[in-house]
């Protein structure tokens, strides 16, 4: 089982290697990187390439580790007990598996994406350690242990909102997605805009990386914003020359008022005579 990338998702060779190591050693793969570098898309690409089902577990600030394994629907059971629907004695009917639980219980190998793990409480990753190590969990209410028949491939993304605990990090394979270089970015853009004119793309990329390099910028634009910007520019039929002088649709690229102001000021600043 080897991951080799897909036609719509471009990966660097080292990322492909790391994904394959994680799959082979059966360790969770932790992905970090600037927003918009395709961390979440990676899991979809792996699922597509390997032909496996993807289960997405979106983490929120209130998510608890057990939610990913199973939820015991006490409200439904209480309701049934009071109003006499269903067989209340069968606790199992009120146990609903979460994404990780479903992957463990399945006969087929699955991919579980734990998206934005840093959103949850600080203790969340530690609470999952045991289950990820053993690939099994105990359902307290029924006393049943569910063990994975096919160990799922676990992909975890983090946006660095919180530091993750060391004990958790030790068990993961870690990859940090570098921000794409101009050349790599060109390849990425071509996936989304296969027939983009070269002159336009050259100009857009020059400007894009110039903006990203402005030191006072609060939030640097990402790949997805660049792709949107190109879409807007092309739909409006804006020529390469106008991009240089005017930077139209800056709001697509920059989401903060102060950043837009900053870039406008930087554009209008007279360039120093070449030396």
């Amino acid at each position: 089982m080897r991951f080799s990338g897909t036609s719509t998702y471009i990966t660097s060779p080292e990322l492909r290697d790391i994904v394959n190591v994680a799959i082979d050693l059966q360790k969770p793969l932790l992905m970090k990187g600037e927003p918009g570098t395709g961390k979440t898309r990676l899991a979809e690409a792996i699922a597509e390439d390997l032909g496996l089902e993807l289960l997405v577990w979106n983490i929120k600030s209130t998510t608890k580790a057990r939610d990913g394994l199973y939820v015991y629907d006490t409200v439904a059971r209480l309701n049934d007990a009071r109003f006499g629907d269903g067989d209340v004695r069968n606790i199992r009917a009120y146990i609903k598996h979460g994404p990780l639980g479903r992957a463990f219980a399945s006969d087929k190998r699955m991919i579980v994406l734990i998206d934005e793990i840093d959103k949850a409480d600080l203790e969340f990753p530690n609470d999952l350690l045991h289950e990820l190590d053993r690939m099994s969990f105990l359902v307290d209410e029924t006393g049943e242990t569910i063990t994975a028949r096919e160990r799922p491939i676990v992909i975890i993304t983090s946006n660095n909102e919180k530091e993750l605990p060391d004990a958790f990090l030790r068990r993961c394979v870690f990859h940090f997605i570098d921000f794409p270089t101009p050349d790599f970015m060109r390849d990425i853009v071509h996936v989304h805009h296969p027939d983009v004119e070269k002159a336009l793309l050259d100009e857009v990329l020059t400007r894009f990386f110039w903006i990203r390099d402005l030191p006072e910028l609060r939030k640097r634009p990402s790949t997805s914003e660049l792709v949107d910007w190109i879409a807007a520019l092309r739909r409006a039929g804006i020529s390469a020359e106008r991009i240089t002088t005017e930077l139209p649709f800056l709001g697509v690229l920059l989401k903060r008022e102060t950043d837009v102001e900053l870039v406008k000021r930087a554009v209008s600043r007279p360039r120093r005579p070449g030396f």
Partner: protein
Amino acid sequence: MFVDFLYHLRGHGLRVTPTEWLALMEALSRGHARASLGVFYHLARAMVVKRESLFDTYDRAFAEFFEGVDRQFDLTEELLSWLSNPQLPRELTEAERQQIPHMDLETLYEQFEKRLAEQKERHDGGSRWVGTGGVSPFGNGGSNPQGIRVGGSGGGRTAVKVAGDRRYRNLRSDIVLDTRQMGSALRRLRRLSSDDQAHELDLEKTIDQSARNGGEIEIVMGPPRRNRLRVLLLMDVGGSMDPHAALCEKLFSAAHASTHFKAFKHYYFHNCPYERLYSDMSQLKGRPTAEVLKEIDERWCVILVGDAYMHPYELTQRGGIINYGARNEETGLQWLQRLRQRCPASVWLNPESERVWGAPTIKTVRTVFPMFPLTLDGLTESVDTLRGAKPNIPMKEQAVDPMAAFRSL
């Protein structure tokens, strides 16, 4: 060789655990480095370095270790020799030792040899184990450092050169600070009030208990999960702080944007806080410090930001205040001590390099407040100090003579 590399990494301050290192060995034995130092560079990093802020340290350690051996280093040979006589890191814990049989080094060895034999046949490369088309099996990973195009016409650069580029220098946590990172460091201050009284309905437990009770409703109360964190941010502006304005602004916007503070107040001062604190940077609008102090108590965290670099008079003399037309009846030092007494959980963040912290006024300020550099590491450390600070504990600073730094002048 491999164990040496492990200790080399640890010597550079990377806390590689034996378990991580054994996982790397397992990955190597399963052929994931493909006998290329370039691939090994990324593989080892993924297995043993788990924070991007440490990538630069790893790069430096890697370049140093493989410098010179880059071209001669034969990963395959190294691994074979290690596997035939596995040397284990000295400080394995009992739990880690127990994991080793699970890894079964002998099986790994067999697997590895088998794989090599297969490769020998497939490549038909005579004496060469791995590699194609005259590409050197070692060092020349061919993977472009930027990870864009494989190989390219000119062949890959060596792993040591890639590491030597130090592309992750900007991610080091002892230099870089952006608003987002500061925000996440500050977020660690968050303390949920678990010691509060149980006066909020715990719905889940109530239902659970009621179900266990055969449907008889039993109310379960729990402590509210509410944030009680209160932060007062005091920032030095103007004069010697001008070069640090951008950095301070980032901290300010991070603190300001934090939604997890129950209360947040901020004021400015120049060099040292005295009778008045200012709500604007030009220091025109202000409030008496005493009034501000009245509004806060020991539940508040106070973060002061400043270079603490000033004339000694400004700290120790009445009327030493730098602002023209102002006169302080009490010394700056008294005000600082008063602040600290009011809020034991307080820290001073200094944007100046620690090299100059020997300056007399900085030394003096440090007798009152624990001081940390205004870097990501410093901020994180200060947050830990704030979290650990216990209210209502008598302060120890009286034991230190705050004037000592000036005696030698």
